[in-house]
């Protein structure tokens, strides 16, 4: 029979061990469950790399999918504790559709929205930034580049050199428009260009509307040229020169709150993280061989990129 003193000692030891275990387990839980709403009152949503529609990972390339960014925007918007949303942009743009989807969602939020352009925020990324209440960028940030790109490599000459024939089997005259294996006719080029011009026009209209600048002025700027932060400020493409501190100041001044940032990111399961790691490793291993034969990054086919 244990004495009372011994029993108390054993009980304290058991509780002590359980307490250590609870600290360890809670640590694991907070890592795996994440804490996107943790404490802060200003959500930061990163938009990094090429903007695409779906969560398809391009080997070794950083991408932001509109689906997951829209999810994060909606979550932040529904959270009563979040008073403002900051978009941390470091992207050269991407899919026109994905950019517009994100821009439209931003416009529907009932919170203060600020775009914070870091290294680069051009094309589709600028489209997204323009839909925010304010844009902050460094004086050396690259921004603007309001234009549309659908260029592709044509191999018809190469095929001819190797005596390979493209057997055209289509129903519908323009079904294979933009195929890299055949020469683009003048008629096809005209049709293609008219669609690209139309998307360019949408882009100009949106920027003009979002930034409250006349369409004529935006058309002058929208040559596809990129601008440094300082130039963009003079043109009215951005509002404030600066970084995170300036973003904080703007929010504190406008909303009269003490800002505490909280990151809203796509929730990744352990299996996704491992998958990503493996695919990146495989990519880097294969790149040495692959890049000498063929540069995949130049083939965009008929995708339209802003």
């Amino acid at each position: 029979m244990k004495t009372i003193k011994n029993k108390w000692f054993s009980a304290i030891m058991i509780i002590f061990l359980l307490a250590i275990l609870s600290f360890i387990v809670s640590g694991f839980i907070s890592v795996f469950l994440g804490g996107e709403a943790s404490g802060g009152n200003v959500a930061i949503i990163p938009i990094k790399g090429v903007i695409i529609v779906d969560n398809l990972k391009i080997f070794g390339q950083q991408v932001s999918s509109s689906s997951s960014i829209i999810d994060s925007i909606k979550k932040a918007n529904k959270n009563p504790e979040i008073k403002a949303i900051v978009f941390e942009i470091n992207s050269p743009g991407g899919s026109a559709v994905a950019s517009e989807e994100i821009a439209n969602t931003i416009k529907k939020t009932n919170k203060t929205t600020i775009a914070w352009i870091r290294e680069i925020g051009t094309s589709g990324a600028y489209w997204i930034a323009s839909s925010c209440d304010k844009i902050v960028a460094n004086r050396m940030s690259i921004t603007g580049s309001i234009g549309v790109l659908a260029s592709y490599l044509e191999f018809s000459g190469l095929l001819q050199d190797y005596n390979i024939t493209y057997q055209r089997l289509v129903s519908g005259e323009y079904k294979d428009i933009g195929s890299p294996f055949k020469h683009l006719t003048e008629e096809e080029r005209r049709l293609f260009q008219s669609r690209i011009d139309k998307i360019h026009e949408f882009f100009i209209e949106e920027v003009a509307k979002n930034r409250n600048i006349s369409e004529e002025r935006v058309r002058e700027i929208a040559t596809g040229m990129f601008y440094l932060g300082g130039e963009a400020k003079e043109m009215g493409l951005i509002d404030v020169l600066g970084g995170k501190e300036e973003v904080k100041e703007i929010i504190e001044k406008e909303l009269n709150i003490s800002v505490s940032f909280v990151s809203y990111k796509e929730e990744k399961k352990l299996i996704d993280l491992l998958g990503e790691l493996l695919s990146e490793q495989s990519f880097f291993m294969g790149r040495g061989i692959g890049s000498s034969l063929f540069d995949m990054r130049t083939i965009r086919g008929l995708e339209v990129w802003t």
Partner: protein, 164 residues
Amino acid sequence: MNLPKERTFKGPAIIWKRVAAFVTDILIINFILFFPFRRIITNMLPRFGSYSEAYEFFISNPGYSNKLMVVSLTMAIFAILYFTILEYKLQQTPGKMLFNISVISETKKLRLWQCISRSLFLIPMFPFILLWIVDPLFMIFTKTNQRLSEILSKTRTIETYVIG
């Protein structure tokens, strides 16, 4: 002097002592074992102005309900571990030690499954939550002051009475 020896016998623990011991244990669990989980919950959830705001938040964010359930279940496991390990090893928890009550088996030796099953009422899920109502009712209305979980696990909570 040839005085007669003090006579003792073991009987069902008085209800108020059991309640007081349970409250003491819950306080220990809450302040020590649940302390790190409290930080997770406060970090995970925003502060709500009203119940309707909270309700709307959980409806529109089902992911949070699932996360909260994971944390609650983990906390429940720690509470069960507290009662199970202490009662299995010492037949007493600190609360029971303070009020001089202990756990015994109706069969020979107290076994681990008995200690686990008498603590299952701590799981915050159906059907276990029914025990939150049924267990105290059984304790009040049975002669031996046994909870339903105790009857099923063939255990009793007793105290030593001294006569004379």
